[in-house]
Symmetry: C2
Subunit: 453 residues, 2 copies
């Protein structure tokens, strides 16, 4: 009998995170002050983040030690299994070998706790009693709720109002882990009130929720802020995924030709891809890393590489990124975690330097891929994860056409048990693809006055 899954023991949980900045040929450009538009140093981030995370944010060290206390919590679900998708291979009748790393075994059901835990830990170490954050579909909010609960920190979550209403169970999961959850925009912040004044029925957006959470933390010395993607330290923490996968692929006696992951802000993609990309950067090894974004929010494939804000109101530093403009409003697709106007700084630079690839996929193809996967492999993927699977199937079919083997690895970043309403809509034929018009695509870019690069 062949091995279906390759597992690791707890002492094989990585001891260091991998910081790809050390190996990048072109380092990321510095962030700029939102007002003066001058480069800022790490100290500008101090009102929001604990010093250890700020150091990681600007570090150029290749390896950063994972604290024992964090590895201890990782053990609750790590190392995660790497599966051979043998049933999917059969179903597709492809010569491709398909592997997937499954992050859905974590308490919150996705890869997000990988960074939520160290973020809560470093805040705890520096005496922080309360954190604010935003969440879209709720994956990040529930991961941070779990982590804050573990370390005894209070958490305030600004949840995009439309998700708050559509996903009461995600909210309830956060409550179970002790977090306070508010439907954003709220009347608790200037940012929220400003949006509500313009549109009392605003359904909210990730950008607005970030503005609210950042404002709250910036105005109160005792409160810090935490972000679930985009930033360098977040991507760093997620590299445990790829580092474990490296060992597991080695155990399987294999190495991927292609590494695939869905793309929202970059942490999911970075998590699995960077440890492999390392070999491309340092040994010129031929490995393709593909970020898959929704066609309705195509910052990587159709955005502009320039400075932009991370939030809607313009409170965050300006970051050099692929962006559709911080005022871009993505269509209400079910992959809430991918509805973000920008991309992380590191991933943006790598794409600019053509070291990684990006593709955009429509949601009907994604859901069809998700159902195919559930039938073959038994796991119902989160809507975000189906984007990766859609591209995996494209690659597997291409391999079939060519009649050549191809080894594919992808990150199954989470299960879809809290997203059943999305599948219901899909089965009932209520979903459609969203083809952006020229005007829609440029809605956020045309009046953008942030610095170009």
């Amino acid at each position: 009998m062949n091995e279906k899954k390759i597992t690791l023991s707890e002492d094989e949980i990585p001891e260091n995170w991998y910081n790809i900045v050390a190996d990048m040929p072109n380092k990321p450009l510095p962030p700029l002050h939102p007002g003066t538009k001058e480069p800022i140093g790490p100290e500008a981030l101090a009102p929001l983040f604990p010093m250890e995370l700020i150091k990681q944010e600007v570090s150029q060290d290749k390896w950063i030690a994972i604290p024992d206390e964090v590895r201890e919590v990782y053990k609750m679900w790590r190392p995660t299994p790497l599966f051979r998708a043998s049933n999917l291979e059969k179903l597709l009748d492809t010569p491709a070998k398909i592997y997937y790393k499954y992050e859905g075994v974590s308490p919150a059901g996705s890869h997000k706790p990988n960074t939520a835990v160290p973020q809560a830990y470093y805040n705890k170490m520096e005496g922080v009693k309360k954190i604010t954050t935003e969440t879209g579909a709720g994956q990040w909010g529930s991961a941070l709720s779990f982590a804050c609960q573990h370390f005894g920190i209070d958490l305030e979550v600004y949840m995009v109002k439309i998700s708050y209403e559509q996903k009461p169970y995600r909210k309830l999961l956060m409550n179970t882990w002790g977090a306070d959850v508010y439907a954003s925009p709220t009347d608790k912040t200037d940012s929220g009130r400003k949006i509500l004044a313009g549109d009392p029925n605003s359904p909210g957006s990730l950008g607005i929720a970030i503005s609210e959470a950042v404002e709250r933390a910036a105005k109160d010395e005792g409160i810090n802020y935490a972000l679930g993607s985009v930033l360098n330290h977040v991507l760093l923490h997620q590299t445990v995924i790829g580092l474990e996968s490296l060992k597991q692929m080695e155990k399987a006696g294999d190495y991927p030709d292609v590494v695939i992951a869905p793309f929202g802000g970059g942490s999911n993609f970075a998590g699995i891809a960077f440890p492999f990309l390392q070999h491309k950067l340092t040994e010129n090894r031929n490995v393709r890393c593909i970020a898959v974004e929704p066609a309705s929010c195509p910052k990587l494939t159709q955005g502009e590489f320039r400075y932009d804000f991370g939030d809607t109101v313009g409170l965050t530093p300006l970051l050099p990124m692929y962006t559709l403009g911080h005022n871009f409003v993505p269509a209400a697709i079910h992959a809430g975690g991918l509805r973000y106007h920008g991309a992380g700084v590191i991933v943006s630079q790598l794409l600019k330097d053509k070291l990684i690839e990006a593709v955009a996929v429509q949601q009907l193809e994604c859901f069809a891929a998700g159902v195919k996967f559930a039938n073959a492999e038994g796991i119902l993927p989160a809507p975000e994860a189906t984007h990766g699977i859609a591209q995996v199937i494209r690659e597997a079919e291409e391999a079939k056409k060519e009649g050549k083997e191809r080894t594919i690895l992808f990150n199954l970043c989470g299960h879809g048990y809290f997203d059943m309403s999305a599948y219901q809509d899909y089965f009932e034929g209520k979903l459609q693809d969203h083809h952006l018009t020229y005007d829609e695509l440029h809605s956020g870019l045309k009046d953008l006055d942030t610095p170009t690069i």
Copy 2:
């Protein structure tokens, strides 16, 4: 660093199931024909089950080989992890050592696929194209949907109407895996029509749904029936849980003083307890095995040991069991999987012979235990599973009072991600305990005319 979880490799998946009948001092009494009330032989089951399962149902062999094809599918989630509940121990400040086997990592999120897979497999081997079954909360229905999908068998699920309406996502999961799901009672069967004639708004019950599924299979030669608990072969298949746990406890250098599991029909309890109970039966080893039932459906602690039907209408053979009477209607508690009037034959005999223990717990204590567990260990347990946890906490507190170590093992049979509405009701204070009146308790027994023992 201590190990948080003890894992096994795929080649440590058991090669045999353990059949406790071989070691029982008093073998179970024979089933009786529902009409003649005479003992029946295995051939009477042939219209419903494939011959291999019937052989297992009556086997006295101690070990029954697990087919390679079944072990191959088990690898999709087995071996499951055994966790040390170190955070819960800290929270309870107890000298007890607490371990839990986590079955929620299966595709359907519970222990049910352990038997769904071999049942579908044996049907497939004997050329069966279609199976019927019933489901309450939906754990069993979704497990069998997954298994039938894997082996290419059509599945018709009779889902208790009130659950069908309250748990649309469980239904959707079954649909995703290709099953047809009907709200029972239906007008597709005589049994269903009979119930609807008496009460057009009947919310249904597990007993009624079994009647419908059995009738459908009995009347059509091409269709077989499958049951998710109670029967000997179902309990047999679940022993993979305990057999793996044995190896894992050995790796941890420990052995349980107490083994605990929730009790519906018996498969969950049997699964984890029988391989340990084996040592009590054959080596006189001192291990307490405790079945935990809901106080609102207390067949083990307050039922009668006598012959009774497995279904409401009276189509199944009469089985010697602890029962509240096949007409007993349990209160609408959220642990749908435990709302069954009877207990499996083997477990009933073991309880009669005082080889196992049983306790009944009210639901508020269970949900409080579930939330405590989620906060400590990160996993939100299914309402069924919280019954086990409530008893674990009682044992741990007793150990604390005595100031003595005690090693506790329990079966965390599934996660609660499809049961969030139950937690919502709990948090909103909508749930209450249900203290059965004398009349309620005897409602199903007082006019029962099945043979006594």
